[in-house]
Symmetry: D3
Subunit: 283 residues, 6 copies
């Protein structure tokens, strides 16, 4: 999967909001009091630990929205694998702007790089298998498009972006619908021709029933690697197979070995620690 940048029109409202959140009503009172307006500086964004970078467009926008005179040269674009100490970008311009935008720029960059790094870790763990790693809708409110992008930067793929871009029938839906047959039939009768239908199954019996009805994908939830392997065999290419539940870099290889097409992981978006990136004086 290549990594196209998100259109700036999608990023700008988020960066503006984050800057205004930090500036409050009086702006950066420390910098304005202490740093002369004409002082210029050159600084670098540098990795403090190994990982994968994501979010440079947001960081750059934070600096440029505070001061368009800040110049930014990117050395390692989004998706790059970093070792500790790597210089990611060099910025030069008025020192006030560099200091005022620093925290917001880093908050975006460290958060998204953390997601990319976590994703890359688990992608690496299943590298010898065909399974793709996909993220979920368990994202930070307001940042879903960014976090999905960071997953792609880390080598992962994206599951649904929202409630509206695919049908995913879960156990609660089935229970209320009065059975998986009713649920699937209603879904087929009601959605557009470009919308895929995926159904969650917890047992091989359910899988059998679902396959007979015909769906685009099955979500094999919380199955052991052995059961997963049997499920993949049963499916036999009739549907995309997705495994979920208790996925981490340790468990992932066994899950992937079952032959599933996809492994979905919530924690890369909801619980990944940041990647530590700092703003240092240029050497």
């Amino acid at each position: 999967m290549n990594l196209s940048p998100l259109p700036q029109i999608m990023l700008e409202p988020l960066v503006r909001a984050a800057l205004l959140e930090d500036l409050g009503r009086a702006g950066d009172i420390t910098t304005e009091a202490v740093v002369p307006a004409d002082h210029r500086a050159t600084v670098v964004l540098a990795a403090r630990q190994p990982g994968v970078v994501a979010g440079l467009d947001l960081a750059a926008l934070a600096f440029r929205l505070i001061d368009p005179a800040i110049d930014i040269k990117v050395a390692r674009p989004d998706g790059s694998v970093l070792v500790a100490g790597d210089v990611i970008a060099t910025l030069s311009g008025p020192a006030r702007g560099l200091l005022t935008a620093e925290r917001v720029a880093l908050n975006f960059l460290c958060h998204l790089s953390g997601i990319a790094t976590a994703t890359a870790g688990i992608v690496e763990a299943v590298r010898s298998h065909k399974a793709s790693i996909v993220c979920t809708r368990k994202t930070t409110p307001g940042l879903r498009a960014l976090e999905k992008y960071a997953v792609r930067a880390g080598g992962g793929s994206n599951h649904r972006f929202g409630l509206d871009d695919a049908v995913l029938i879960k156990d609660n839906h089935i229970a209320i619908a009065g059975g998986v047959k009713q649920a699937i039939e209603r879904a087929k009768a009601n959605v557009g021709h470009l919308v895929k239908i995926e159904v969650e199954v917890d047992t091989l019996e359910q899988l059998d029933e679902v396959l007979a009805l015909g769906v685009d994908a099955v979500l094999l939830d919380n199955m052991t690697p052995e059961t997963l392997a049997r499920a993949v065999k049963m499916v036999g290419g009739q549907a995309i197979t997705e495994a979920s539940g208790r996925v981490n870099p340790t468990t992932a290889p066994d899950i992937a070995a079952s032959g599933v097409d996809l492994i979905s992981v919530g924690w890369v978006t909801h619980s990944a620690p940041i990647l530590d990136i700092g703003l240092d004086t240029a050497p």
Copy 2:
């Protein structure tokens, strides 16, 4: 510190944005296809692991904005300590609304409870000392007020909310100003009478210089517990003392034992994993 709820006027724009992000342009196509409009259900928000809850007002708002007919009874309010299995709240109403709002409600609740839980862990670690745990400006863009609130729910306290509500002179400021003396003098000359001034010091020599100039607080950055103890002694009550750098539940007790007033931790807001809370059918 008691825990006052944030005014709903501050929460509503964030919850609306998160719901619209998830609904996209077509809404919850699965639920609308599969679940009858008149089906009613009762569900519970239940803890899947121990922790501290925060964010119930946001979760409740997510449900009510999707369907005002949903009734919510809170059993364990924000700040409560949970054991796995605890029912946090019971919701009843139209099943469609419960399913449509579920993910957004949980995304807020699990994220903020994760922060509260991480904070509570480190607060507990220093319980026998006087030090307060404070958070930083390393927050998720757009969610600072919520995350600062979650820190309070976990028993922590808040450092600056933004660039504008206190002066914090860091090493970069000092370098550009041409020395700590110039930096502090400029700050004192330029800020209002209700604004406190804090200065970062990395060595005891710097601390000596800063104390002679008079400031409200000193940020003792990356010092060993031994150096911190000497620093606290040097300060002798002339300023608030804050320790920062490499703080975690293991290192925190020794840091706190130095006698500092405050220990600031970035990771409770930027890297805390979520607290796993689920929506279950009411028993």
Copy 3:
């Protein structure tokens, strides 16, 4: 396809904006000058011509946002087939609010009912065939979700809601990619597992090439009914077939007779005249 209402949270910003657009800076100066504040009235929304109604939630919201005291009773909900003179809803409350909100309410209702009516006309024309009528992205800027909903109210189905919810490879993409093979391969390598891929083909030769590569759907553009029939035969169930180009109630039956699965029509969203609905004094 059943017709679920759009969540009010999606409608409210559009109705608020439309009301503010009409109120301007001084409000309804005619009504405020001429109509006593305590005058109450009962009025009906009545069809002036036959058609299908859509948009009642928006109309109701317009009245309620101007005056929550206005009571609305819906007689013929969205999707109902109307004959001229049919009462769609009865409203009673303060006369000022009824008059002030009237135009905005009707602008939404007549526009969306026009789309539903146009859709129903062409749906009816192909009723004896299996083809579904689907709309396009040729919608009025800002109103896409509403117009797609109106198409459903008229018995149609929805194609893509935006650039992001399915891949649709058109002639320009193919030309730039250097061939349909390259285009399809790149698409398959880059999109998520729940995203379908559709490719536009203009000739049976292209169709042959595309089918060999395997896609979810083919858009058969501007073909004669005879060519369409041959195309459908060639496809033989390997992909969804969609016909487009010069579709109107007269040409639609022949197109549908070709056996295509879908017929897409732009004009129901971009060129449908309004359905004439008026606000009359209750009889």
Copy 4:
């Protein structure tokens, strides 16, 4: 009437909203997957049918907001009369941006050009008479300023822009006020000196009564050409005369021949089909 462009500050929010509506949460997944980032192209906006163009500033803004590197040369500015095949503008720049912005640009351009074209048709029909063609408040919600502009581009003039910029007393107002005399007196007592007052009359008796009270304009609703002619004579220059009801290019000449000053038409804004304009590879 000359045709001044609307200030970009009025257009930008609408174009941004339309682009975000189309980009959704994942952007243009087809183009990003299929089209190389460095591919450049030159394309033209070309008329597929005769008409009058309007909306080029919006189309240009759509392209530039997606990629500022896109260069736009306008050959036929807003208000120009087009024959089929006419090149309206030439665009060159990165192919991705051209393809991503295409639909939004065309949605604005075709919609507004459709209104301009419809207006020009009826303006032409009454060319030999003094009557001006004016539009109404029956506009698409959110787009009133744009649609009023398109009417001007087509040679028409504008009636009220909203509820607040003139008094228009209709039959409902009169009924509630208890008579036309009371309605007009209240209006005169309550509105500013730069606000004109127009009153709807359905019969010559009403006209007589209104003229005696003195108003700026009379709206002669649904009268035959003969009655209109008598009305114009009765008015004798004491007020502006406006005819409305069942106006189309066929009926308009007879209505205009009555000597009225203005003919108002709702359908040019609420029911005009689009003008078919396409984006073609430059020859």
Copy 5:
């Protein structure tokens, strides 16, 4: 002129913005720390000086948006003449909400009542003449609709609400157009039938020229009362006459005695001091 309330839909965004401006990121930290959540209070809004009240809907909305449990009883509605000590409204409910919303509510109420009071003062000064007092576009950015409303509450009338609701040709326009004749002719050729045209004149010679061309109103700028009287005579009812320049309660009677229809004053909106209204414990 009666005084209709502005629709709440116009007020709410302004009150929400003002509350969020005051709450900042942490809310009312004093009240939340000091006042128990269950403490209830009853308070009154009371005039500290004589004047005219305006803005009660905004004040009430500020309290209700902070806490819907606050009950408000209005004793003296907008437009009422107050003496010092008058109770304007009584509020009861949770003490926290009353204290948190107090400042925002008063900021709206005192500002608008200040405008109403200033207007009433000059209206009173010309009471024995026919002249109406009108305000200008010299308003506080963002608050024009509110301030124009406050002028009406004080017994004044409103001039243009913006650049778009009437033509006002000033000296700069005339100079650039190459003469008043060209300016007026261009205006007449370009604006709608419900738009009035007013022209600024500085001398009687200019007035003569303008009257010959025919306009709706003349703005007699900075003339002495004697010259104004001659101007009114020259106009002889052919146009509305408006005097402007150096108008205050002292000069206004002489200006009004000239017989002009309108006297426009900028200072009532741009320089009126607030009316002192306070929130007191209910007696």
Copy 6:
């Protein structure tokens, strides 16, 4: 105190809103009708009376947002002392843009310069004393950051920017808390380490009680100069002393002579008349 400009990102939304408020739905109909599109002009912003200028960035932004081709040269930056006739800035560019943006630019500039001028007047009155002049939260809704900036431009300092950036315990808080001791203890227990606490006292007895409890600042409300002097003596440097109540240029010197650190004045933000600045043709 130096005067750093507010970041443009904080100004732009306010200037955009003000321009749209003035442009309405049809824009500047006078200028567009009367002034040729290619006419260029050079104009100056000139002081009509002596004062202190503030708000040039907002004025410049108003012109540039209407037409980026307008060039602005500032002769007297914010904070400059002006005499009548002083040229503040020279603008050249398309005449239409200059005329269209004029009123909005002046509304910001005159309002903020009025505040700066009022502040400078009272700052001058206490020049021989150590007291600083500080403003309050009695600001125009929506414009607080701008008005606080204007106070700084006039030589004043800023008190709290909102409810969240310092604790200010007033008489109502004390009454509800059940005494000043309870109020102060609760505040100390609940707020962060960088938040200062100020308490209002009306008598020397209260002052004595408050000093014993230890606070950062005392607000000495409505005391005579003599009592203030005694209060300052009692405080003896243990807290910052602030005087408030009935402060104007006449009373200020005696108040300042008491030796207080700060004098707070509401009227400079809520009741200052504008500074008269006009747009004139360049000489």
